[in-house]
Symmetry: C2
Subunit: 339 residues, 2 copies
Amino acid sequence: MAVKKPTIKDVARLAGVSFKSVSRVVNNEAWVSDEVRTKVQAVIEQLNYQPNRTARLMRTAPFSLAFVYDNPNSHYVIEMQNGILTECREKGFELVIHPTDSASDQVRHELTSMIGTNLVGGVILTPPLSESTTLVQQLLEQQAKVVRIVSGAEPPDELCPTIYVDDEAAGQAITEHLLDQGHRHIAFLGYHKDHKSSLGRYRGYCAALHHAGFAVEDELVISGHFTFDSGVQMTEQLLQQSNKVTALFGCNDEIAAGALYAARKRQLAVPEDLSIVGFENSPFSRQTWPGLTTVHQPNAEIAARAAAMLISLMLEPEQTPKHCGFKLQLVLRDSVSPI
Amino acid sequence: MAVKKPTIKDVARLAGVSFKSVSRVVNNEAWVSDEVRTKVQAVIEQLNYQPNRTARLMRTAPFSLAFVYDNPNSHYVIEMQNGILTECREKGFELVIHPTDSASDQVRHELTSMIGTNLVGGVILTPPLSESTTLVQQLLEQQAKVVRIVSGAEPPDELCPTIYVDDEAAGQAITEHLLDQGHRHIAFLGYHKDHKSSLGRYRGYCAALHHAGFAVEDELVISGHFTFDSGVQMTEQLLQQSNKVTALFGCNDEIAAGALYAARKRQLAVPEDLSIVGFENSPFSRQTWPGLTTVHQPNAEIAARAAAMLISLMLEPEQTPKHCGFKLQLVLRDSVSPI
DNA sequence: CTGAAAGCGCTAACAA
DNA sequence: TTGTTAGCGCTTTCAG
């Protein structure tokens, strides 16, 4: 039979105190006598009383945040999600998941509704959503707390606390690694003009070539998406239009895995005939054969940081957390050989 | 400056009606004159009024559910999550994510707290959590709505609506496929006595062998986990202790991918020297080289179904949704060759 | 230190 | 068809 859940009043009655005292104990407020505290705690235990979050939320700011993403990459999403959850757990926050289609205009509406209806008190934005200043402003106007994760060597502006990841420096580093191994004709796969991470990595690629005194060869820069299938297709296109390429920089590990697949289909040995590098260090970059040389992108850590910033923003609004930048490290595996 | 959010009363005042009328319009209740409805809607528009979910939740059942999992497999989690979200969107529900460690005793506490504090009205349980009848009962006692996903040819009991997935039949089918190709010494990788899916697949494997008149060879059955690393390790162990094996059934795609990796490390060609099959049809099973023959497990669909059942359970408690079984289909790719 | 009263924004019950 | 009155379970005054 449906037993009604005990409320704060039930506890108060049984403990012989006012329900306000119970509230004080539950919220660990000061100015409660040990006697009352002990008594109340005993009753709470006995009744297995659990405060109703909903009721509490009516008087306080929401204790939950939203993770907003538009990304086909499961590993990225899961790692981010896990990072955020770690932090949420610790602080007693709940996580609401909100995948979305950034192309659709609905996003704005969905997000403002999440905030407007008091579902969540803050949001963590990832690219490409995080790159829209108007979206951020709109959210901010609604009193939402916002933390965004973007690609860049520094925060784009001071709108809100920002996590920025230096794709350019890492893109340069991995390209230099290829140059160090003697490669002179290095392809770049996954160029996308509307994709800040892609652009950052591309800029790093160009910088490395220039510093080494080489020109960027247009026919070696292939546009595409951050997916395996796109990687396969771009590689096929590349190998058709150039036979001098000896190394290939996939803009992320999925592209690189696609390249590996396409190379193998063409009977090319990796790394003997073709060196391949990726970007992100997703779990499967070490599960391919050969393992992929790549750049480690600590997604879980980045996300945990974002969550920590957001939560602090919600809890202590007076002290704005500072921005936070991430530098990325090379991970050397077996998909590159000297020429 | 912080503008206070408009409440139902603000709307009522401006529209010149009682706030109850506004509530009626918002909730699409009957018995509202068109005149009032139009007027109220105009004001809602004008003020950009958004009802406060929290307040509403105090009078109604929670409009959110939890997805509880304990699984290292990103693809599985993401696919499930996406499936659930599809359904949630449609019905206006929110999703709270709750990864957990089923080994820890804390799970019980965490779950009962989610329910007890009114955070969510129901939960979707996946293995191995879903296999604990005591957990389910405990949740049920708290008035929680529960839907569980389990491995089996039929629901284990009538505690709650159940989605059951027939691992055994599929395990048998894929083993038969191997037998049809002439394989006689087929290894089974990923046996785990506490893991129902593993057990189901193992039973199917045994059944296929028996029907074909062969015995199960103990040395070809290797225990391990559903991970890539375990797959690598089990394959190495297998190849050391047996040289007659010609085909290998990985209990999931990760194990199979690990096997592929280990085989390649040993200079074994797949499928020429060794045929490999997996289970689940996760995205990367077609991204390996060669693509993995496997069993398609429609995770998103399964999850969407579970969510639909749970939501219906919450919305129309009188009509219990029926259980629902899934049969799995073979996916033939290039990792198997006849002998 | 403790408690009574008010009220968060909304929905349910009951009148009008 | 509409409005009034309660009251959800809790926190926040503010007065003891």
